[in-house]
Amino acid sequence: MKIVTASPIPNLVAPFTIIEVLKLLPWLAAAALPLVLPGYEPLATQVFVMILFALSLDLLVGYAGIVTLGHAGLFGVGGYTAGILSVHGFTDPIFTALCAMVLAAVAGLAFGVAILRTKGLTLLMLTMASAFLLYEIANKATSLTGGEDGLQGVSFAPVLGLFEFDFRGKTAFFYTLVVLFFVFVFVRAMIHSPFGWSLRGIRENDARMVAIGCPIMRRRLIVYVISAALAGLAGALQAQSTQFVALYSLSFELSGNILIMLILGGSGRLYGAFVGVPVFMFAQDLLAKQDPANWFLGQGIVLIVMVTLAPGGILGVAERTIDAIKQRRKA
């Protein structure tokens, strides 16, 4: 008989299940895309950028319980930072991306200090206000940002001095995919760290976290700054891959859309961004083709159905289905 010694740390992390394996599929599919669907690289690049953006949002919404309708503000800060630097001759993609992260983090710190003391609706309104503020600054500072016309003349040097941004978008595709992967690894490590757990604790019961000695304001501020830096990075990748920065990147519409994408996929699940973004963008494309004038209606209906019938998003539904099947097998 085989003797099974009890592991000193059982149950802390879910066992390796089918769903864990399924979660790896998007990565493999993504890397193989240029072979399977040549010509779709630019669209896929946009999907990666939005996944990265949604991932940064998930840290706030899904883990720290900070619901924001102004996350595009930080995305836009990153985009404009990279774009404006390139217009002024600083064209190295990685350098400008790092600058974008730093500036977005600084913006996140400034706003975070001001707004994170509040909760609920007040916080939601303040996140919106912070993004509106940035939007108006960009709108008025036309000499710097191009205002409503968008920032013209954006172009970047080859990645690592080797890979030039090509017309077909292959470089941008692999560049964003690699960055996304590293960010994913970072975020994944973070949510499984004591810090990540404490964020969940704050989301679940912030009063209790205080009563175990947690400086919750500091924790929330740290995650807000990290999330801001990642949103800024997504903005920079957007600017680099499209060679353009528009006011849309700071808009309420984008803030709302990214939240919808995350909720659609399932927040607080790490992979929600990877599911929600492609589904949303595909559906948007499809609905816009069907009815260019009224596709928002379709989007609204889908959202209402998801929120009322499938809390937890697509991944939530998948988890419950698998649980149900397991239960039935046990019975």
Binding site: N11, V13, A189, P194, S198, A211, G213
Partner: protein, 256 residues
């Protein structure tokens, strides 16, 4: 040792015009096992909230080891060694029992801000979680989300979280509420395993538990300490009997 572990001087607190705690001078010595009893609405939980910093006093001071902590916020006081449990269970409902305790261990040991190392790599802290769960007899449900535990076991988890903080002073707000009377000895057993130097203040309406646990009893009535003394003195005290057994002038009899 005669120095006070925890002390209040002239502590008062009011909700609006309603004085809930009135000029309370209270001392808890290291290693003391004290119970705080009193009718419903006497201000017991408010008193605890003033000690932990959840509420701010209207006047007066709170001292821990002779240091004035009145101006420190709740989280900082907890880190200095004031641990508590809640009258109304306050857990992390969707996290597992082990995760609940780990959060407290992580805060106590100063690793909760660490960003990148996996929780799994903190072997010593994880072992402490298991040891604490063993102490409150919850080892078998470590993987169960806290909200799925029966209420009595949630109370035990509440205690495990408090113990995880290695408190110097432990404030237990009705720990046995919701635990069947026949099992309230579990609480006593757990308290008996505490290191001697920890000072414990217990609030409970279970007089059997209170009298078996306490070396000293303070009786709080309408925000003031009515009387303090050994359990036998308290049991014999005419004023206490009046409050609890008398004509209900001061409140309902609390031993429900």
């Amino acid at each position: 040792m005669d120095t006070a572990m925890l002390e209040t001087r002239g502590l008062s607190c009011s909700f609006g015009s309603n004085l809930v705690i009135a000029d309370v001078n209270f001392t808890l010595r290291p290693g003391e096992r004290r119970a705080l009893i009193g009718p419903n609405g006497a201000g017991k939980t408010t008193f605890i909230n003033l000690l932990t910093g959840r509420l701010r006093p209207w006047s007066g001071n709170v001292l821990l080891n002779g240091v004035d902590i009145t101006d420190l916020d709740e989280a900082r006081r907890i880190r200095l060694g004031i641990g508590r449990t809640f009258q109304i269970t306050s857990l992390f409902p969707r996290m597992t029992v082990r995760e609940n305790v780990f959060l407290a261990v992580a805060e106590c040991e100063g690793i909760a801000g660490n960003l990148l190392r996996s929780v799994l790599s903190y072997g010593r802290q994880v072992a402490r979680v298991d040891e604490l769960l063993h102490r409150v007899s919850l080892s078998d449900v470590g993987h169960v989300p806290a909200q799925l535990l029966p209420y009595g076991r949630q109370r035990l988890l509440e205690i495990a979280i408090a113990l995880a903080l290695r408190p110097k002073v432990l404030l237990l707000d009705e720990p046995a509420a919701g635990i069947p009377t026949a099992e309230s000895h579990i609480i006593l057993d757990i308290l008996a395993t505490l290191p001697n130097e920890i000072a414990v203040l217990l609030i409970d309406h279970d007089m059997d538990l209170v009298f078996r646990f306490a070396q000293q009893i303070s009786v709080l009535v309408q925000g003031s300490i009515l009387v303090e003394g050994a359990p036998s003195d308290i049991a014999a005290d005419q004023r206490v009997r009046e409050v609890y057994l008398g004509d209900n002038k001061h409140g309902r009899p609390a031993a429900a």
